[in-house]
């Protein structure tokens, strides 16, 4: 199944990536070929639906004998968030990596000191990460920029 450039553009928007029209066309072909290959999964088990299934059909996969340890279900990419930074006064120095017995309780413990963390930040101000304004104030944008508007591309963030 070849992907359309429209589909490529939509996926790119979800992944916070942007491509030139030439790259979109190339990706449509490459991804289409890979998707064709992984489509063999649809035929793998007897009784599997012959066509790419929607959720209802695929959920009829028979149970397997062993309790499967399913890999951690990853979340769809979402808009990155700025982590909360605790006040500096609460941050003791990072201890050496413990070789001691594992912690049994879910208790707070020291994390990376703020100044160490911010040393890698592209821009910081007064102990905070600095970014351009969230909403653009300029008007027209002639490039193929999928805007991260509220509601677009964030629909899988839960």
């Amino acid at each position: 199944m070849a992907l359309t450039t429209e589909e490529v553009r939509k996926i790119a928007s979800l992944a916070r990536l942007r491509f030139t029209p030439e790259e979109e066309a190339a990706l449509a072909g490459q991804l289409g070929k890979i998707v064709d290959y992984i489509d063999q999964l649809q035929h793998f088990e007897a009784g599997a639906p012959p066509e790419a299934a929607t959720g209802a059909a695929a959920s009829e996969v028979p149970p397997v004998p062993l309790a499967p340890i399913v890999p951690m279900a990853p979340m769809a990419p979402m808009a990155p968030m700025i982590p909360m930074i605790p006040p500096p006064a609460l941050l003791p120095p990072l201890p050496p990596i413990s070789r001691a017995a594992p912690e049994d309780d879910d208790v707070p413990r020291p994390c990376l000191p703020r100044e160490v963390f911010l040393a890698n930040a592209p821009a910081a101000l007064d102990g905070f990460l600095l970014v351009p304004e969230v909403r653009r104030t300029s008007t027209a944008d002639t490039r193929q920029v999928p805007e991260a508007r509220p509601g677009v591309g964030d629909d899988q963030s839960s």
Binding site: L31, L41, E45, G55, I69, P71, L94, F117, N120, P146
Partner: protein, 524 residues
């Protein structure tokens, strides 16, 4: 300083023994390794950075420790190369990506800390496929690493830098990460030993995440004993990684020489079918490869039957060593690549969301809004293969496709887990070739991502199911390039896998002696 031109050739175990005993100094061992590196690095390009000064300081500390009557540990003074996705505090780390240009590790990975605690000397960060995504090291944003056996061929990937460094004699040990074969495949292509420990055996704290359900840190060495020693050093519980198991590691060297008389070795019966399908796929795609007109008359095209013949020879060697061969069946082997590339790219698309130009790494200088910071930094910072995998993973997780791809891949994975569990009930270990072919030529598969992915057909099952697996050299193909046997075992039974690997190594009598074909150098 006395020159010890042959110290670089010693196994890590022997080198550490001499240094602990005061026979040679860590400084001399490092000097030998650096001399050797200066000689081979212009041919191989294994390193992104050599920590020469820091390594000298460290070697001096080891020597002072020995002089003071202390024991620096089982890797005392052993030079080690790190894949560039393992944090070492105060040193740069890029994952061979532009998006991490300028990043300095703020802390040290647990596996690396354990190497340091055992006395190792970290000599540099070695090249890799960008974010560990690739099977040839060609997706590195910085340089192409060459295979020491033939510098016109790839070293494999993604841990191609550490594998090439170990094979070329620069260091006795390399530490890589293996998500779908990224330690075993380059070890196979470079004619050295590569280990993918059981999922949960080694902490991933401080390893940059790619696919969290399969990522594992593993060593590369010139022999099985060194590989077991390094695994022993880095393994064990770590509260900083909640997936790291609270199980004792034991002594992986205690039983390693006991041989495999009476051991049941499972032979996967679907291997010939998979090898034939791969050869057919290679024949179909080779004419389209851009490098096809420039076939090197010295290297030539790999003979598709080489691996099948080598594998039969490996089975005969195992039998001669006393193993009992039993046939096992893994029908899902054919689907391994499809399952892996759905699950791994799905997880990668989520894991790599953190590279956003906000918290660390490269920010696009022209970005005028927060959305542009995200889009521009990621589009400019990630290379083509990483973008392709993020796109594939975003697609397979997207609404309307999730059940058909991610859900289905998990169902087939459950079947694969059941098949391998059954196989490892009948057999103590299960063997396959590590790769479907020997090293391929630089550029040969760059234009065809799917052909590149197929390199991982035999390594992905152990990753997906979380089993320990060791790649051991099994001989040379018709072109003089190394081939490799993969030995998989039951979860946390590394000791059994190493015992089988060591018996096989002894039977084959393998010597790591790359010839640097295509480069004018005396490699001795």
């Amino acid at each position: 300083m006395t020159s010890h031109p042959d110290l670089w050739e010693l196994p890590a175990e022997e080198l550490a023994r001499r240094i602990r005993g005061g026979e040679v100094s860590a400084a001399a061992a490092l000097a030998s390794a650096l001399e050797r590196t200066a000689r081979v690095e212009p041919l191989v390009h294994a390193y992104l950075e050599i920590f020469e000064e820091a390594a000298r300081v460290r070697a001096g500390e080891i020597d002072r420790s020995v002089a003071a009557g202390k024991d620096p540990g089982p890797l005392a003074g052993v030079p080690v190369a790190l894949k560039d996705n393992l944090n070492l505090a105060g040193h740069r780390l890029t994952c061979a990506s532009r998006i991490l240009e300028g990043y300095v590790a703020p802390y040290t990975a647990t596996a690396v800390q354990r190497l340091l605690d055992a006395g190792a000397v970290i000599v540099g960060r070695a090249n890799m496929d960008e974010f560990a995504m690739g099977s040839s090291c060609e997706s590195s944003a910085y340089q192409e690493t060459r295979n020491p056996w033939d510098v016109a061929t790839v070293p494999g990937g993604s841990s191609g830098g550490p594998a090439a460094a170990v094979a070329a004699g620069s260091v006795a040990l390399g530490i890589g990460s293996d998500t779908g074969g990224s330690v075993r495949q380059p070890a196979a292509l470079c004619g050295v030993v590569g280990v993918k420990p059981t999922y949960g055996r080694v902490s991933r704290y401080g390893l940059v995440a790619f696919a969290s359900s399969t990522d594992q840190v593993g060593p590369i060495a010139r022999g099985v004993r060194d590989a077991a020693l390094a695994t022993q050093v880095i393994a064990g519980h770590d509260p900083m990684d909640s997936t790291c198991a609270e199980r004792p590691v034991g002594d992986l060297l205690a039983t390693i020489e006991e041989g495999i008389a009476g051991m049941r070795v499972g032979v996967v019966k679907e291997i010939d079918v998979v090898l034939a399908a791969q050869a057919a796929a290679a024949a179909a795609t080779t004419p389209a490869a851009p490098a096809a007109p420039a076939v090197n008359p010295v290297g030539g095209e790999p003979a598709p039957g080489d691996m099948a013949a080598s594998f039969r020879g490996a089975l005969a060697a195992l039998e001669e060593a006393g193993a009992e061969l039993v046939e096992v069946s893994i029908p899902s082997l054919e689907a391994a690549i499809a399952v892996y590339y759905v699950i791994a790219t799905s997880e990668a698309s989520a894991n790599l969301a953190r590279f956003d130009g906000v918290r660390y790494g490269r920010r696009s200088p022209g970005a005028a809004s927060l959305a542009e910071v995200y889009f521009d930094s990621r589009s400019e910072g990630f290379g083509a293969e990483v973008q392709r995998r993020i796109m594939l993973g975003t697609f397979t997780l997207s609404s309307g496709y999730y059940e058909a791809y991610y859900g289905k891949a998990c169902a087939v994975l459950a079947q694969m887990r059941a098949e391998l569990t059954a196989a490892l009930g009948r057999a103590d270990v299960v063997v396959t070739p590590t790769t479907p072919s020997a090293a391929f030529r630089l550029g040969e598969k760059v234009a065809d991502p799917l052909a590149m992915y197929l390199s991982d057909v035999f390594t992905t099952p152990a990753s997906l199911v979380g089993l320990p697996a060791v790649a051991v050299p099994s001989g040379l193909d018709g072109q003089g390039l190394p081939l490799s046997l993969q030995i998989m075992g039951r979860p946390f039974e590394e000791a059994t896998v190493f015992r089988a690997a060591r018996a096989f190594e002894r039977q084959v009598g393998w010597q790591v002696a790359p010839r640097f074909r295509g480069a004018e150098v005396a490699a001795s």
